[in-house]
Amino acid sequence: MPAPTVSQATLDEIALSRAEYEAIVDRLGRAPGGLELGLFGALWSEHCGYKHTKPLLRRLPGESNRLLVAPGAENAGVIDIGDGLAIAMKIESHNHPSAVEPLQGAATGVGGIVRDIFAMGARPIALLDSLRFGKPQGDSHIQHLLHGVVGGISWYGNCIGIPNIGGETWFDDSYAGNPLVNAMCVGLIENARIVSATAKKPGDLLVLVGADTGRDGIHGASGLASRTFEEQAEMRSAVQVGNPFLEKVLIEACLEAIDIPGVNGMQDCGAAGLTSAAIEMAERSGMALQVDVSKVPRREEGMTPYEVMLSESQERMLLAVEKRAVDAVSELFEKWDLDATVIGEFHSGTDVVVFDGEEKVSSTPIEPLTSAPEYPFDAPKPGWLAELQSTDPGRFGTPDVSPSDALLKMLASPNIASKRPVFRQYDHHVQTNTVVEPGGDAAVLRLKGTVRGIAVSTDCNGRLCYLDPRAGAQAAVAEACRNLACVGAEPVALTDGLNFGDPETESVQYQLTESIEGMREAALKFGVPVVSGNASLYNESAGTAIYPTPIIGALGLFEDVTKHATISFKDAGDAILLLGRSETWDGVGNLAGSEFNAVFNDDASGQPGIDLALEVRVQELCRRAIRAGLVKSAHDCSEGGLAVAVAESAITGGIGATVESPLPERWNAALFGEGQSRIVISVEAANAEQLRSIAAELDVPVVQIGTVGGTNITFGDSTVSHEAAADAWENGFERATSA
């Protein structure tokens, strides 16, 4: 065969390598046509094809006796939660669009993940957002990104009537040029009415519903999401524009449509638009597909078949509908003032054929389109990392401030301070199920018509993952689950949002491999499946990768939702206990990757670690004690360690607390060390003994560290007033992000 000719510029535009182009020619036995090249570019993009992560993702555990739909079989796995109810959930990134245009980028990120969930027949019942930015203090660009992203989530999410009940907002210089915006959606499926993203039989029609198609977002998947980017201005046309009102009516219309007999399948149009949605649907159905782009309603004139197939216009869905049901579908969508247009037909065969009216534009076998190459790797631990891990995180000694002033400074750090300025911009009450609101360890929703409830949390400390990707990922799973334990819920499923740098570099390859291994080990230890996930790679700017950030979303279940806990101390005289340790204070090694070292020393060094076996037992103890009605408050130790956990319980409870043990010389490690597997609880003093006996049964160390009460927060001989601590914590975020 003669060497295929295609210009480097064309390949660059669709982000395919020369070798990949040659592989396509080889698989087709001919050179691809113009449109075909676009289809391959989209489907073989990192975003759609998972070229660098597929071999790793297969390592994640996907088994549970609660699974109704296995991960990978559909857009997300589905978890049985009893009483005929099931949960679909997924997390997805919209990092690069948000860096280019924060408001629309974040808004359409919410829109996209919501469509993923209702495509499965699930009513979206919760949103969470996991956000990362550069340090905000005095940086107007970072503040612009933060306010744009939060504004976009607020604008879009509030309009569609889904409560936004949690997430994280976290700052570190590593995200300065490349913020992370990961949105998670949880959906409730009733009566096991799960909708598949497939056609059922040849002759099913492909129906496009929702918005008209425009030129927005072309090459979003292959460009923005699958490459590093420097020239932000040039990428603007690749960012989509959201219409939350359309999304809201689309949710209602689609959830009504699945009740029409003959509506066989549903799929969202996400990254790579019709190309990805329609072709994946055909592939999953094991059928061929014929599409006529001339039928697709447009919002602008003169669009080419290439543009129609690759447009990422938002708020569109595809249905697979039997001929007999088409009229009923049209009538339903008309009720909601929405278009429903037949644009194609499934039939037996192996090809996707694209027509533009009478003219056949392309005919391509589906198999090569949907089997992107895989690039397994096995990179060694980078030398710089070994050096960083062997660096003593305690080498700075104690800082030149008093422990009380240090506490105030820590409470005011935007990574620790209350995120109320963010979540008060999101409706977290709509649907009237919110039992524990955002601001604690995990939010809790009741499930109407049952006594059950769910808890949801997202977590990942990128600094720990940077210092040890395996231990960091284990800690992310552990903390997400620990947050559930602190409200009293049992973890039943995980979803992951993998955010990493350029997978073509050895450092990132090592981080990816190790993180997935860490997630795998932790998920197996907790006995929970990873039901869905998303990978966002090439998160770099100016040649520097972000911290490896595998964000974990965790779903917990309550058999009885009235048996839950919050983080707030309640009554004077209650005993404060530390679960997971038999001594009060943390050692110097636990400053590794700590917020304390970041705030006081601008440092991230040392070797983090976690004992997963202990972690599982600590969480079991906390959950059991909550169910037994012994616990008045529970809060895990994470960023800022024990002192911050105690202070937050006191501040939110509107009451003081005293930890009696005298502070050791290395008080910074004692107060702010971030040893894992620790939960601070408060119990009525008379119940402390009963708690100890459950702890002994579970072999979990426990130490009584103090007492609730008074108007101060005291550690040893160091005291701050409740008022000063509350001011630092409640206003720290706004001060750091507005000045």
Partner: protein
């Protein structure tokens, strides 16, 4: 008595409102699609919260042209009780059933939080199960809840006793700190001159059970039930 809960495209608190009156307070209720015109089976109408037509153009500006609104106006004109919650309040103002307008929150941000509402009058169809000065703890959820009107209208509304609810602190005091949106005189809810049409920005349907944070919102619905039952009995 039977509640009718109006659904515009983009409305999202219809199910929450339906749940509060039907499941919690055990009243007959039905959803009314905005293209319906016969609402004669209903004894009370609620325009719930959400973003009708995405709040595009101006909050409530498009919804007021929905076919159902003519029927709602006739229902109100005949003295039937009508409650507009949040977006419903905005629609009622746009439709001319209530005075003033809801503009963007003074600080320009959306706000979702619990507020204290001071009940200014306990002798109306919407507050007859409350006591004057009672505080109701109810959530708000809006970006445009800042009630504004010209001076003459404000005076007429105040002098006419049309203000039913104001944002207050936990002791019932008014201050700019406890006014979440910049609304004139901390106004959270007003009635028309006849007293049968209430618009309020807070969401009483979101405070209907202890498990989700409180039951104070029920006071308004229970008052409607009591007064409507009295009317129906005569």
């Amino acid at each position: 008595m039977k509640f009718g809960v109006v659904v515009f495209p983009g409305t999202w608190s219809e199910h929450d409102t339906f749940y509060a009156v039907h499941d919690v307070l055990d009243q007959p209720a039905r959803l009314i699609w905005h293209k319906e015109t016969d609402i004669s089976d209903c004894d009370a109408i609620v325009l719930p919260g959400g973003f009708s037509y995405g709040d595009y153009l101006r909050c409530g500006a498009i919804a007021r042209f929905s076919p159902v609104m003519d029927s709602v106006k006739r229902f109100a004109d005949s003295g039937g009780p009508v409650m507009g919650i949040c977006n419903g309040f905005q629609v009622l103002c746009e439709a001319g059933l209530l005075p003033g307008a809801l503009v963007r929150n003074e600080h320009l941000e959306f706000r979702c939080e619990w507020v204290n509402l001071r009940v200014e009058r306990a002798d109306t169809s919407f507050t007859n199960t409350a006591s004057g000065g009672q505080l109701l703890r109810v959530p708000i959820s809006h970006g445009e809840g800042n009630w504004q009107a010209d001076d003459v209208t404000v005076r007429r509304v105040e002098d006419g006793g049309q203000v039913l609810l104001r944002y207050a602190d936990a002791s019932g005091n008014l201050s700019p700190d406890t006014n979440p949106n910049g609304s004139i005189n901390s106004i959270a809810g007003i009635v028309n001159e006849r007293g049968n049409v209430l618009g309020l920005m807070p969401h009483p349907e979101k405070a209907c059970e202890e498990l989700i944070g409180g039951t104070d919102g029920n006071v308004l619905f229970e008052s409607m039930i009591r007064s409507t039952a009295a009317t129906l009995a005569t």
